[in-house]
């Protein structure tokens, strides 16, 4: 039995360590933050050292390593009856010993399926979970994707005033700093059973294999092994209480939804009745001014660089998903449309409104655009006159003056979460081509899907090796004849009139992709074919 929890304890920390490795890995990071929250710069949790629980006397106060959030959440674990029944049994045994959850812990149970509550209910385990604060909070991604909601005000105040590194313990699958809650720096992944145990302990600064979790009302220490169910017990419960009828019942009317859903005042009809007033949903301009017949693509003449960036620019740099700063173009737009700052919500939730998303493109507050050296955020220079301004404002000014745009980048351009707005926003800002040393696979494909041509420096060449600063004008020749994997000639002319000529590779995989670019995107091609009856 001791190996059981020794092993599981190790999980918590080896998972943490494991995820640090993942974080630095571009293949893994592709899928970061799809829930819509930004990664916070890495800081290391400063634990206070081992602190013993006082067996008698007052409750533990909030400190470094305190558990601020304990959540049974995520698709990874909540479809597994044995660990959920297991969590219920841990709760049962803890309650029977008179244990309580520390008052500062935000506890939650957010299963991925309604059947979960049915079998927990049938097994009589719900009252025990609720006695420890693990009430049902809803069915969905919840805490796992950062929708953990606010912490108690007094807890936030304490964390901020004392600069505490507090922890979340959750049964999720990712634990990047800042993902779960802006106030919680350290995030630990654990099985639902250990989530309950850590809520009881109130701290991650504890070795549950050796130290007592807490003391019972008689002052007797209670160890993890005292409340840990045996595998046989869990299996017995699963066999008895997890029944096919529960799934049948819950899924019989799965498309109907709750009363709230049914009572929504949704428009009807073949065409969507766009509401000009909405700040969430707007008709996107992709198919406005939509000529049915398109000619050959033309060369790009005297384009300007909107953004010049180094390696590993993520899709979150290009299209952030998290909070909208009030003093940025997207924030200004929302304010102008009567949205108070508290109601901004995230970029992620406003992906149905291109007005917000365009303004948020290259909107990451930590973007390092080389055109504005030493400055971070969504800034660039309107090159013809050297005026510094937000990237969105510059793009609009270029558009007014019919100046096409390019983006110049280093390696692994567009790494991170697969985010289609990174490509849509790029297109809507008037960027015709990106020239990078290499691309992340899905972002490259999304650029093509939006008709932005991904070009690639030749092997061994880069903006540095070619001496490009970004203040040049760019002329790209041969686009009408471009072939997948072929080359195009680029002439970069610097402000002194000096020219650098170099070739770039057309990073398209097939003739179909050339056709997508020609049409301005995959949806554009589809629509054209449909209208023409092809």
């Amino acid at each position: 039995m001791s190996t059981a929890f020794h092993r599981t304890m190790k999980d918590v920390f080896s998972l943490k360590k494991g995820s640090e490795d993942f974080e630095n890995d571009s293949d893994y990071s592709r899928w970061l933050e799809e829930g819509g929250y930004s990664i916070v710069e890495k800081t290391h949790p400063g634990h206070s050292g081992i602190r013993k629980i006082k067996c008698e006397g007052e409750e533990v106060d909030l400190n470094h390593g305190s558990v601020a959030i304990a959540s049974i959440t995520s698709c990874t674990n909540t479809s597994n009856p044995s660990v959920l029944i297991g969590a219920g049994l841990v709760a049962k045994k803890a309650v029977e010993r008179g244990l309580k959850v520390k008052p500062f812990v935000k506890t939650s149970l957010g299963p991925g399926s309604k059947a979960v509550m049915d079998y927990l209910e049938a097994a009589g385990l719900v009252p025990y979970l609720e006695a420890l604060g693990f009430h049902l909070v809803g069915y969905g991604c919840l805490t796992c994707i950062g929708n953990s909601g606010p912490l108690h005000k007094s807890v936030v105040k304490e964390i901020e005033e004392r600069d505490l590194t507090v922890a979340s313990v959750l049964s999720g699958n990712r634990n990047f700093e800042g993902r779960i809650s802006p106030h919680v720096k350290a995030n630990y992944l654990a099985s639902p059973m250990l989530v309950v145990a850590f809520a009881l302990a109130g701290t991650v600064d504890i070795d549950l294999t050796k130290e007592p979790i807490a003391c019972d009302p008689n002052g007797e220490p209670v160890y993890l092994k005292d409340i840990w169910p045996a595998n046989g017990e869990i299996e017995q419960y699963c066999g008895k209480y997890v029944q096919p009828e529960m799934y049948e019942k819950e899924y019989a009317n799965v498309f109907q939804g709750t009363e709230r859903w049914q009572e929504l005042d949704a428009p009807e009809g073949l065409l969507y009745d766009w509401n000009n007033e909405s700040t969430y949903i707007q008709e996107p301009p992709f198919f406005q001014d939509f000529p049915l017949n398109i000619g050959n693509m033309e060369d790009i003449k005297d384009a300007r660089a909107l953004v010049v960036v180094d390696d590993s620019i993520t899709t979150d740099h290009i299209s952030p998903a998290g909070s909208i700063p009030a003093d940025y173009p997207a924030g200004r737009y929302l304010m102008e449309h009567g949205v108070a700052e508290e109601e901004f919500n995230s970029y992620g939730s406003r992906r149905g409104n291109h007005e917000v998303m365009m303004r948020g493109t290259f909107g990451n507050v930590r973007l390092k655009n080389k055109l504005v050296p030493g400055k971070e955020g969504s800034w660039t220079v309107y090159l013809p006159d050297g005026e510094e301004m937000p990237i969105y404002d510059a793009a609009m000014k270029y558009m007014e003056n019919d100046i096409p745009l390019v983006v110049i980048a280093g390696k692994e351009y567009g790494t991170g979460s697969s985010r289609d707005w990174a490509a849509k926003g790029t297109q809507l800002l008037g960027v015709k081509v990106v020239i990078a040393q290499s691309y992340e696979r899905i972002h490259r494909s999304n650029l093509v899907g939006m008709g932005v041509i991904p070009l690639q420096f030749r092997e061994g060449e880069s903006k540095e090796s070619l001496g490009l600063k970004g203040d040049e004008t760019y002329t790209i020749k041969g686009i009408s004849e471009m072939k997948p994997g072929g080359e195009l000639e680029v002439v970069a002319r610097n402000p002194d009139g000096k020219e650098v000529t170099f070739n770039v590779t057309v990073n398209l995989n097939s003739d179909i992709e050339v056709d997508y670019c020609k049409n301005g995107g995959i949806l554009h091609k589809f629509l054209r074919d449909k209208v023409k009856g092809e």
């Binding site: 799809e34 990874t76 289609d420």
Partner: protein, 373 residues
């Protein structure tokens, strides 16, 4: 469409307890000398069926079928194939922009003088609303109600759009908020493993395959269903009937032997497997599990192995259909009739991982005695 002549005479009839349906038989490819089915990884067999069934000489050609059928461990053909998933799943963060795009296409179609009704998902899609609910209230029995109330207040405009889409589009279903998490709803309910679909006036049986706009779409590989996460624009294109062009993947076989020791959880196993696969390097590849240990692994455990696909970097972590799959389908309330059909179809197509079946040939293999975890 008579594609019998161009798809290697693979078209045949499947008789499941008196019900007849059309089946595209993989063994016909073997009869045509294209490949040895039992040597191919199970995941490649599923892809192969996809190509054979969709061969029309235009989008999917005999050449594509031959290319994939020529899959060999040391010699994976370096060409793209047009994969046509049988369905698409979306969550609401990625789903809202997709619906906005399709709605905009309808509006544009009307303005351009075409028929807006022609703009519809061609490939069935399910959008599961799970990303918007927050924990505003907790620790009380009204927590769920309170959180849903806030959720609807914050997301009213987005939800009205999705509610509209639920009625306005064909081949498009919305799982409303408060129902569950996309991958769980998929695993427990939406996935058929094998479809019986009415198409062009006949019933056709074929493997369930999908793409999804969420990284952990791979969780469904735990149920023997082919699928992975793609970008929003790619998913829209698939919904509108465009094939998903993909390179023919290498397949890494992962043999599980022995049994987990008492007290060792699936989480431990996944950690070890993830570490091994990351060291091995499986980016852009399929991983396929097999072996005596695999056969004993419960379905929820397999689903965790598959769920973590993005964490070890593979396109998929495929768990072929066997008795455990069928038992799970029964446990989650799928009808006996359907489960029997799945069983029979998979067995006839060589998609069922029988105990005594030869191990497919993999690009490379790894092995783990679960007792050492």
């Amino acid at each position: 469409m008579d594609n019998n002549s161009i798809s290697f005479k693979a078209r045949d009839t499947l008789d499941t307890r008196g019900k007849k349906s059309t089946i595209y038989r993989l063994d016909k490819l073997e009869e045509n000398g294209l490949c040895k089915i039992t040597s191919l990884p199970y995941s490649i067999r599923v892809l192969l069926e996809n190509l054979v069934r969709n061969t029309d000489g235009k989008v999917v050609t005999e050449e594509d079928v031959k290319n994939l059928a020529g899959w060999k461990p040391g010699n994976v053909p370096k060409t793209d194939i047009p994969y046509i998933p049988s369905r698409v799943i979306l969550q609401d963060f990625t789903g809202v922009p997709a619906v906005v795009d399709i709605a905009a296409m309808r509006s544009a179609m009307k303005k351009l003088g075409g028929n807006p009704e022609e703009i519809n998902p061609v490939i069935p899609a399910d959008l599961i609303i799970d990303h918007s609910v927050q924990v505003d209230c907790y620790g009380t029995s009204y927590a769920r109600n309170c959180n849903e109330k806030h959720e609807f207040q914050r997301n009213r405009e987005r939800y009205e759009l999705l509610h509209w889409a639920q009625n306005a589009f064909d081949n498009f279903n919305v799982v409303p908020p408060g129902s569950g998490i996309i991958h769980q709803v998929n695993l427990e309910h939406l996935a058929n493993v094998v479809h019986l679909r009415e198409e062009n006036g006949e019933t056709v049986a074929y493997p369930d395959t999908l793409v999804g706009t969420d990284s952990h779409t791979t969780m469904i590989n735990g149920l023997g269903v082919l699928g992975w996460g793609v970008g929003g624009i790619e998913a829209e294109a698939v919904m509108l009937g465009q094939p998903y062009y993909m390179p023919i993947p290498e397949v890494v076989g992962f043999e599980l032997r022995g049994e987990l020791k008492e007290g060792i959880t699936a989480t431990d196993l996944v950690l070890t497997v993830t570490q091994m696969l990351r060291e091995h390097g499986v980016v852009g590849k399929f991983v396929e599990f097999y072996g005596p240990g695999y056969r004993k692994l419960s379905l929820p455990d397999r689903a965790i192995l598959a769920n973590m696909g993005p964490e070890y970097g593979a396109t998929m972590g495929f768990c072929p259909v066997d008795e455990v799959t069928l038992d799970y389908m029964r446990m989650t309330g799928r009808s006996e009739e359907h489960v029997n059909m799945v069983s029979q179809y998979c067995k006839e197509q060589g998609l069922f991982a029988e105990r005594d079946a030869p191990v497919p040939e993999y690009t490379s293999t790894l092995g783990l005695d679960m007792g050492t975890v």
